[in-house]
Subunit: 390 residues, 2 copies
DNA sequence: TCGAATAAGTTTGATGGTAGAACTTAAAAC
DNA sequence: GTTTTAAGTTCTACCATCAAACTTATTCGA
């Protein structure tokens, strides 16, 4: 539905955004002339736009490193003095990071906090304190906005509808976050797994990595995830997408607290895995090594896990047509030990596997990535609409 | 990834598209002044753009019906002399329709053909003949392009990768369709279920109906469907999305020809339903009435169907966060008889059902809608980029 | 050391599109 | 028949990009 017409000021705004995005997305720092060539605009126009971005601090100029024939180009990099604050309120910890437009983590605080049992105001106080500390540490950086990652369903990018593990319901997080939320003018709240997936998509602000389409599956206390299509997280109508944990593996399987039966969570979450392997939950990460060392029970546990994942994921792959799977959390940790089994089972179950074999990968790290993703989300807004910050 | 900069010609193109889309999407025919107000452009600009569209036949002018104070407005309607050819090659029939920009079916041919066993050239000859006939019947209409709906996986909107029921593999349909495909300069091929879903989304070209997000599930020989998000069909990385028929209902369920076990298709496709009810496949549509009349076996069949659908759909709803379901084909026919049961089971299985209860609906008709959807697909291209046709 | 070659960046005027405001037109209301 | 209302038109101003000539900074070669 078209809302509004386009004027020539929109042209300038659009081109500013395009130039900034190109600078951020480029593998090598481009010059004004490079941009002109790549974007089919004249050098005059490119220079005009770049000058404006440099003036506003969104783009930095550096002198060329390798000498070349001709007048040396002034190379352009994303502004290092501009960043965003990414926050994570998890069940067992709080993370705050300031990430620059260049993708550098300028400051970070990570603190173990048992959030379970805390009410929203108490929990958010921990988050806000961590946020203030990194803002201080980041010093002179211009922070354009804040985003908060939370393990729950978020509506409209502002309100927490329900976070089952924290037992928080209907909290206007954006309003209750206090002054830290007002660092910069952007403020967003997002689902933890969605934002972790965002961090997988973008290697740096505006630079989309090699996988624009994948299913992200994160194993923690529960099993969450996200569907990423064309570089964007699919949030669904009401923000309730990505509940991989409650895909049905076996309708006559174990009862799930959600009221259903045989949910993936009952096979792949931390506790069921620990129980199956006869270990403590914090030992789940070692199941792979134990299995490799010959522990029969762990071998069986992994086989059962691969089976359950294959049933659930095959259904999803058949419906959304995305055949790359990225595993995070303890599932990422176990991925090397189930990869081949899982892939073989998926190829047998996925209809299109003949021409698009299913890829399985582990996300490198996981514990802070929702905070990175939160910062990236804010910076993405900046990249989409830079005019306001010039 | 930004490809190219924006110039002022893009402004004109964008505004032409916006004006045309607004004319097509408006519930009541607007005037030039209405458009100016709604799109925040001046009356001067709106008039200039509209004149160009009228000149090119994409917009028609009519005199106002109800007299009003002031100078009477000339009302604007989508051009009735412009249309697209939608084709459907199904297993048992061929359909060809010319649909105008206004949404009217200007001509139609529908012919029962047993396509099973025919090779692509033989089958496409039937399609092409039907296409030629409707083009003749449509007479002076300017046909901007053709689209073909086919029950199979389509890549890049051109090539059929695999149509299991027709047993066609790797056919460049766009090339082999012959002159009918070159009626107008647009030519696309799409999956039958995807295009049927497109016809559900758009009531008329450019007019998105009340459900921009839904899962479309169509029961025929198999069970296909589409995920529609924000008014767009999700095609996946390689066009292989929407295979609802192979969502796993029960991993220890009946064996499926796909190589897996307990696929939804084994519970909800025509033949399994007929077998369960002890009827011929062509009698499946009457299971609802028979059950209502007290036929125990049909009652049980419907209950089992609702159960299987609920298991499969709940998983999908939990992952993609879309909680409206539209049923087509024989599933649409049976929908009134399973609706309540299905909805109750879904609400029990869907995690977010508390704040977003699952909606279940039947698509009104089904047999020709892929052809309508095909035509709508072409007309959508026209609406997105009208400059080429002026 | 100096000039030619090369390529980046800058200036200038032309072009094309929308914005704004005054003007014209067509019909109903009085 | 005059007034009122609102649609549509005309004209000028403005703004962003384009095109092409021009300036600048460096390397290469004599």
């Amino acid at each position: 539905m078209p809302r509004s017409a386009v004027g020539q000021s929109s042209v300038r705004e659009a081109n500013l955004a395009i130039v900034l995005q190109t600078v951020c997305g480029a593998p090598e720092p481009p010059s004004r002339a490079d941009l002109a060539g790549r974007l089919t605009m004249t050098r005059a126009t490119s220079a005009r736009l770049v000058d404006e971005l440099v003036e506003g601090g969104l783009v930095d100029e550096i002198d060329p490193l390798v000498p070349r024939r001709g007048r040396p180009a002034r190379l352009l990099l994303p502004g290092s003095g501009v960043g965003a604050l990414g926050l994570l309120a998890d069940t067992d910890k709080v993370v705050a990071r300031v990430v620059s437009l260049r993708g550098d983590v300028l400051a970070q605080v990570r603190r173990d906090v048992d959030m379970i049992g805390l009410d929203p105001d108490e929990g958010l106080a921990h988050v806000a304190r961590a946020g203030r500390e990194v803002l201080d540490a980041a010093g002179s950086v211009r922070v354009v906005g804040t985003a908060l990652a939370i393990p729950g369903v978020v509506a409209d990018g502002r309100t927490l509808v329900r976070a089952p593990n924290l037992d928080w319901t209907d909290v206007d997080l954006a309003a209750r976050l206090g002054p830290v939320g007002r660092a910069g003018s952007l403020l967003e709240v997002g689902n933890e797994a969605d934002l972790a997936a965002t961090a997988v998509v973008e290697e740096a602000p505006g630079r989309v990595g090699p996988w624009p389409d994948f299913l992200y599956l994160s194993g923690t206390r529960g099993v969450g995830g996200a569907v990423v299509s064309r570089g964007r997280v699919v949030t669904g109508e009401h923000g309730g997408a990505g509940e991989f944990g409650h895909v049905c593996v076996d309708p006559s399987g174990p009862v799930c607290p959600c009221g259903s039966q045989g949910c993936l969570e009952r096979y792949a979450a931390l506790e069921p895995l620990a129980a199956a392997a006869g270990l403590r939950p914090d030992q789940v990460g070692s199941i792979g090594e134990r299995a490799a060392a010959g522990d029969e029970r762990c071998v069986e546990t992994l086989a059962h896990l691969a089976w359950a994942l294959s049933v659930a994921l095959a259904s999803v792959v058949n419906v959304v047509g995305i055949s790359s799977v990225v595993l995070g959390g303890h599932l990422g940790r176990l991925e090397p030990y189930i990869r081949d089994d899982l892939r073989a089972r998926l190829d047998a179950r996925v209809l299109g596997a003949r021409w698009a074999p299913v890829q399985v990968q582990a996300a490198s790290d996981t514990s802070s990535s929702p905070a990175d993703g939160a910062a990236l989300l804010v910076l993405r807004r900046l990249l989409e609409h830079p005019v306001g910050w010039l």
